[in-house]
């Protein structure tokens, strides 16, 4: 069963959102993903995620400026859950080819 972990970084000062996101991402199990809500695009996070073997998509269109979904690279179950979860949102940036289930 895929689990969504939520990180609300809306009120956080840089670089706390990045630090907390990386800490939580490292704890993700198989099929799990992290959803980070942020008021601005966390550009600095992307290279960190790529280097540590995570996939991500950044979406707009919810009640917050940016939703970033993060999961372990190659975790097909987590990827499928994320793409279903983000179905109603607008994908702004993705580290994976968006192939909807």
């Amino acid at each position: 069963m895929a689990r969504e972990y939520l990180l609300d970084a809306v009120d956080m000062e840089p670089p706390e959102p990045l630090v907390r996101a990386m800490e939580l991402a490292e704890k993700l199990g198989k099929g799990d993903y992290l959803r980070m809500r942020h008021r601005r695009e966390p550009c600095l996070l992307y290279d960190n995620l790529k280097q540590q073997g995570f996939s991500f998509i950044t979406c707009t269109g919810s009640d917050v400026a940016y939703d970033v979904f993060i999961w372990h690279e190659g975790d097909a179950g987590a990827q499928s859950s994320v793409l279903t979860r983000a179905d109603t949102l607008v994908i702004k940036l993705s580290s994976v080819k968006p192939s909807y289930p």
Binding site: E23, R40, C43, D47, Q51
Partner: protein
């Protein structure tokens, strides 16, 4: 507001901005020493050589030094474009700026005309080189990015300041260069209202919402205010040159410029009152002092329209340089410097293939209580300088002494952050 695409590989070495940050407080110390040595007589006229030397130790040695260092870092980090050969570029600009500022101030203090020629050449090379390289680099940035616009406009204002400044400096040694009426006022206004204020505004658009967790500045303001201010400054300048007798036109242009500054300070105050986290923050305190000083600057300018008051002109300079500009820049340094140290440590750890190392958080890089000590000393220094404008015999030397202490605390705080960075790198490599 959207940040430009950002890559860890784009971050220039920490020494690129940090050499400027660590040099700037030393020039503020030199300013304090100059004022202390010159004594209360220095405030008798705005044309006193020691006052001109002290002013440039702050405007070039402190304000421009920090802003030049910060821009070399903010260009890649906020605007997504990198300066070519960043280390060589920063080394050359830093050396020329240090040598040029020292030559200029020594020229006033020892009344040696050859030093003004040397200063004109060194500062001319440093600052035109800096402006041109930055302008060319910014052309590669995504157009429409609000910080790119305001930085470009601030750099153009800086170019006018530098041309006028170099002309004035060379005029001390070359008799052939005629000093036109009002040229010094033009140089000062383009420098303080153009270069310094427009850049502070442009950077505030980014750092206030980012670090103070406030709503963004209004989009049209970020897009147009700096450009409008630049155009108003140009109009004011042209009126001064071509219609010097038409006082009402000059006051109108000046009034519109002042309105632009007031608009910026009111919006900024409003945003700061709407921040999402109500926790004590020294940068917030510095911003409040900075914006309050700006309000007093505008009031002082309004009062100066009623006639020529030498004291009011000095009061204007004190508030604009130490009140508005130094406060804003000191406050921003307490966010930018720890963030850069954290960023470089994070990049270093990532580069070694580690996940999370023992990277200190921002409050550990420069402890809040150390920054707060600086803030208290800064406020006292500002108060003493304001009193010194009217009672120099009693307050000038204490104010100068406080400036030395304040700058010393800032240097120590910035250096302790850098020392921590070096310590962690050394431990990782051991």
């Amino acid at each position: 507001m959207k940040a430009a695409a950002l890559s860890l590989a784009q971050t220039p070495p920490l020494s690129v901005p940090y050499r400027f940050f660590l040099t700037a407080p030393l020039f503020a110390v030199a300013c304090g020493v100059t004022l202390f040595w010159a004594g209360p007589d220095v405030l008798s006229s705005r044309w006193h050589p020691a006052l001109l030397a002290a002013t440039h130790l702050l405007t070039l040695g402190f304000l421009t030094m920090v802003m030049a260092g910060a821009l070399q870092q903010l260009t890649p980090v906020l605007m997504g474009v990198q300066i070519s050969y960043p280390l060589s570029f920063s080394t050359v600009i830093h050396l020329l700026l240090v040598a040029g500022t020292l030559a200029l101030t020594a020229g006033w203090l020892w009344q040696k005309t050859a030093l003004f020629t040397l200063a004109g050449v060194l500062l001319g090379l440093a600052l035109t080189g800096f402006i041109l390289v930055l302008l060319v680099t910014l052309r590669k940035a995504r157009s429409g990015h609000t910080t790119v616009r305001s930085t470009t406009v601030a750099l153009l204002a800086f170019a006018v300041t530098v041309v006028l400044g170099v002309y004035l400096a060379l005029g001390y040694s070359w008799n052939g260069l005629e000093r036109l009426p009002g040229m010094t006022d033009q140089h000062m206004t383009w420098g303080l209202v153009g270069w310094v204020s427009l850049l502070i505004m442009g950077v505030a658009y980014q750092v206030i919402p980012m670090f103070q967790i406030t709503p963004d500045y209004p989009g049209p303001m970020m897009r147009w205010l700096a450009i409008l201010m630049f155009l108003l400054l140009s109009c004011w300048s042209l009126v001064q040159i071509f219609f010097p007798q038409t006082i009402w036109l000059s006051h109108l242009a000046g009034g519109l410029l002042a309105s632009g500054l007031v608009f910026f300070l009111l919006v900024s105050m409003n945003l700061l009152s709407r921040r999402r986290r109500y926790i004590p923050d020294v940068t917030l305190n510095f911003w409040r002092v900075s914006l309050s000083s700006l309000l007093l600057v505008v009031i002082a300018w309004g009062l100066s329209l009623t006639g020529t008051h030498d004291q009011l002109e000095i009061f204007f300079g004190v508030l604009m340089i130490t009140g508005f500009s130094m406060s804003a820049i000191s406050g921003m340094l307490y966010k930018i410097a720890p963030f850069l140290i954290w960023l470089h440590l994070n990049n270093y750890i990532q580069g070694r293939g580690h996940t999370r190392g023992n990277i200190p958080n921002m409050k550990q890089v420069i402890p809040e209580r150390h920054a707060r000590l600086h803030f208290r000393a800064h406020c006292l220094m500002l108060l003493l300088f304001i009193l010194a404008v009217f009672w120099p015999d009693y307050f000038l030397r204490p104010a100068a002494l406080l400036l030395i202490i304040t700058a010393g605390i800032l240097w120590n705080n910035l250096y302790s952050g850098f020392r921590l960075y070096k310590h962690i790198i050394r431990n990782q490599e051991a």
